[in-house]
């Protein structure tokens, strides 16, 4: 089938920062994204798991955005401003999408 090149950006960030990140994305006109729950993980700030946690301080979420290649830089700048002082990981992958008109 006919596919179109795009970029898949995956931002793993603290759950408490989720709204700030998505607000920043929407402000930068990145209106399409999907938020995945995260069960646990490990990084420089140690090992953690969501099990039994009541508070929101301990968790992360993974925000996946698929964008047209020419929108990538806007997205990364918006995301970076939020993520910068925080823990979290931003990765970008090349991908192909169906229905390019949606992006």
């Amino acid at each position: 089938m006919k596919t179109h090149p795009a970029k898949r950006v995956e931002i793993t960030i603290e759950e408490i920062m989720e709204t700030r990140l998505t607000t920043a994305l929407l402000k930068a006109d990145v209106t399409g994204f999907t938020v995945l729950p995260v069960k646990g993980g490990s990084g420089r700030s140690g090992h953690w798991t969501r099990a039994g946690q009541v508070g929101r301080a301990g968790g992360m979420v993974s925000v996946v955005c698929i964008v047209r290649p020419d929108r990538l830089d806007t997205l990364l700048e918006a995301a970076f401003a939020v993520v910068e002082p925080h823990i979290g990981v931003v990765s970008v992958t090349d991908c192909e999408v169906l229905r390019a008109e949606r992006f």
Binding site: S45, A51, V54, A57
Partner: protein, 324 residues
């Protein structure tokens, strides 16, 4: 003797033993775990029930000047304790100013589960307390955060408190639920309570057991992952600070002329350290502070101390100073 009996009675209550079971299971690396959603559900239940019952009590007893005094005293206590904590931490430990301020915020704020466990000890001892103490608890959640942020701002680090952060602090879920259900209880009074008593009163202690089982699991997991954080200085602080906070709470209680039960609860509020609202606020406002320090201190050291020994001590002292 009284104190020892109390301590033993407390240590062998189902709720403390449930906490101990959770702690043991986590330290022994059992795979026992409570799903996050269930833990959150229980916490919503506990906040709703405790708030509601407090509101009903105020509906019955009526509004009083003492209540207003207690709310003010609570706010002041919450705002003041972080300064004490900060100075102690800087003196006793090698924490940076930032980490010290973050930890200090936790100790000015409160732990609602410790409060609930305190009411449960009072119930066992047959002592009454004022229903509105739960409103004092709600008031004490946030001021400590502002004190800590001020401490950090003074030293030039930290970020400014924007509108979003203000809202997150003042309208965080547990405050809204606690005050909201308090107001609902206040409005509906005993009538309302009668309708839902078999949900929020009878099963309460049992839910608390399972919730503390989960807290034990989480605390134990935290301790396992952050053993290296626990230097002697920090450990000493984690046990000394609640005693100081309790003292301050006790002074407030006596000054306000509260009864033994309420004074004991004021001590518990002073002694307890937040593990929900404050950590979340710190993550946003002081992302450079090390979360494993403040979480380990609050949940791994002070919470178990208060639960196992603290409550018995506070009750004994409250009896002493109120002549109850």
């Amino acid at each position: 003797m009284d104190l020892i009996d109390l301590a033993i009675g407390n240590l062998t209550s189902p709720i403390i033993l449930s906490f101990a079971l959770g702690l043991f299971a986590a330290l022994a690396r059992s795979d026992l775990s409570v799903p996050e959603a269930v833990a959150k559900g229980m916490s919503i239940y506990l906040l709703f029930a405790i708030g509601f019952k407090g509101g009903v009590a105020v509906n019955e007893a009526g509004f009083s000047a003492t209540l207003v005094g207690a709310l003010v005293a609570g706010g002041v206590l919450s705002a003041a304790l972080p300064f004490v904590a900060y100075l102690m931490l800087r003196a006793m430990t090698k924490l940076s100013a930032l980490d010290a301020a973050a930890v200090a915020a936790h100790y000015g704020s409160i732990s609602i589960v410790t409060f609930v466990a305190g009411t449960s000890v009072l119930d066992s001892a047959g002592l009454a307390y004022d229903g509105w103490m739960v409103a004092v608890a709600a008031v004490m959640e946030a001021p400590a955060i502002l004190s800590a942020l001020w401490l950090v701002a003074r030293s030039g680090a930290g970020r400014s408190v924007d509108g979003d952060l203000w809202r997150e602090i003042l309208l965080n879920g547990s405050i809204v639920l606690l005050i909201g259900s308090f107001v609902i209880g206040w409005i509906t009074g005993t009538d309302g309570l009668t309708r839902i008593a078999s949900f929020i009163v009878s099963p309460f202690q049992g839910v608390l057991c399972l919730f503390l089982l989960d807290m034990g699991l989480v605390a134990g997991r935290g301790l396992r992952n952050s053993r290296d954080v626990l230097r002697p200085g920090l450990l000493a602080f984690g046990i000394l600070m609640p005693l100081i906070g309790a003292m301050a709470g006790g002074v407030a209680g006596v000054a306000l002329g509260l009864g033994t039960g309420s004074t004991m609860l004021f001590m518990v509020l002073g002694a307890s350290a937040s593990y929900i609202a404050v950590p979340a606020a710190m993550r946003v406002a002081l992302p450079e502070a090390n979360p494993s320090i403040y979480l380990t201190m609050s949940l791994g050291v002070t919470f178990p101390f208060n639960l196992t020994l603290g409550l018995a001590i506070y009750l004994s002292v409250a009896r002493l100073i109120t002549g109850g």
